[in-house]
């Protein structure tokens, strides 16, 4: 299973990369970790004339606290994110989603930016970015722009990033106070894409009221999803009065465009979704209460 031939560039700055992309348009494709792209090329499911390898661009690497946000360079590997004490403390949801990504060999090459730009609805990072209202830094021939996560994902495997643009970094807002975070996924085997998954963040007030919460859904649509009805039902309520099963049910009902495939129907996915949301909610709340 050998890929069709392609040309190869390895720019060292984001601007250089964008220059090549602008020159070649659709015929060129960004190569980051390659863990999603290279299998597709090997299977000849996709063909590109040119790969632009962004793995040598230092400016895409890094994890740094910038005010209220944690900035992670798009080229940062999953493994670097997994090892980072900074991520563990400033963006626990990102840290806890990471070990669920594939397998250690994948995480040693796969990048956070690559996963978000690839926008597989069954992947972890897109749902985390959406749940935390992250913002994506995108560089194009016309300059830089920042896109809110809510506007970033446009459909199955598609985002607002144009063929001549490059995702440069992602800023995750830092939650402080009495917070709890949890990621729960159900997959056929360890490391497989989730059949349904949930990422939950919750912040409690001193009175145990739910100050804010976010429920992100994995694998429940053509993009990562939020569960607005579930979030609304919990926000402002006394956390002890929030029924975790109800949150799960509401979240499952919030999903639109739920897929049906070899692993199960949409109805089955909703059932699983409800269960994983319930479990994630329960865990996140337990953690928040301890804080």
């Amino acid at each position: 299973m050998k890929a069709a031939p392609f040309a190869y560039d390895a720019p060292t700055t984001p601007e250089e990369a964008v220059g090549v992309l602008a020159e070649h348009g659709d015929a060129a494709k960004v190569l980051a970790g390659g863990q999603s792209l290279l299998p597709m090329l090997a299977l000849r499911l996709a063909v590109f004339d040119r790969l632009v390898d962004v793995g040598r661009i230092g400016a895409l690497q890094g994890i740094e606290r910038r005010g209220d946000a944690l900035w992670i360079g798009a080229g940062t590997t999953d493994a670097a994110v997994e090892r980072s004490a900074e991520v563990a403390s400033a963006a626990p949801l990102v840290a806890r989603a990471t070990p669920l990504i594939g397998h250690l060999q994948i995480r040693n090459r796969g990048t956070l930016g690559g996963s978000i730009a690839h926008a597989d609805p069954a992947a972890e990072y897109p749902a985390v970015a959406l749940a935390l209202d992250a913002s994506m830094d995108v560089l194009g021939p016309g300059g830089r722009r920042t896109v809110a996560a809510a506007d970033f994902f446009t459909g199955l495997w598609s985002t607002v990033v144009e063929p001549d643009e490059l995702l440069v970094g992602v800023s995750f807002p830092v939650w402080s106070g009495r917070c709890g975070f949890a990621v729960e996924e159900f997959a056929r085997r360890h490391g497989d894409f989730a059949i349904a998954g949930a990422v939950v963040a919750v912040e409690l007030g001193g009175d145990d009221g739910v100050r804010r919460c976010a429920v992100g859904l994995i694998g429940m649509g053509s993009t990562p999803l939020r569960a607005p009805t579930a979030e609304k039902a919990a926000t402002g309520a006394a956390v002890g009065g929030v029924d975790a099963d109800e949150i799960g049910r509401l979240a499952a009902a919030d999903a639109v465009g739920v897929p049906s495939d070899l692993h199960g129907t949409a109805g089955y996915r909703r059932r699983v979704c409800a269960a994983v949301v319930t479990r994630a909610w329960t865990k996140a709340v337990e953690e928040a209460r301890r804080g």
């Binding site: 040309a7 390895a10 390659g34 290279l38 299998p39 090329l41 397998h103 060999q105 040693n108």
Partner: protein, 160 residues
Amino acid sequence: MDEIVVEVRVNGAPRRAQVEPRLTLADFLRERCRLTGTHLGCEHGVCGACTVLLDGAAVRSCLVLAVQAQGREVTTVEGLATDGGLTDVQQAFRDCHGLQCGFCTPGFVVTVTAMLADDPAPDDTAVREALSGNLCRCTGYQGILAAVRSVVDERAKEAS
């Protein structure tokens, strides 16, 4: 498509070749370096039979282009034992009947070597999760898990 000159250190020795960009690191090692211990079980990044160390990190060499390894260090199964014998990981696989046909074995041995360098005292769950990216069809994983457990225990004994 134009070929690119790539320089890689493989098992400590410098290698230089002219390659098509599409040539995977796995094929580079097997065909250009004649190191056939790295095996192709799927070529789409699931089975782990092609696992090598790239700058010390376990990676699927079928999902790395040779050109991406430019200037880096690659260690294959052939390069693990430096004195012609077997490493403790390899010996444990042998002692615990952790292989039958041997096709998946280099990938497992490399993965285990890297995994224990990162985490010397994994519990059973951590071991299984770390191995979940390598497929074996012959052993049912029983001997493999026993081998890893035995290395962890032996190294702990020696450390104390």
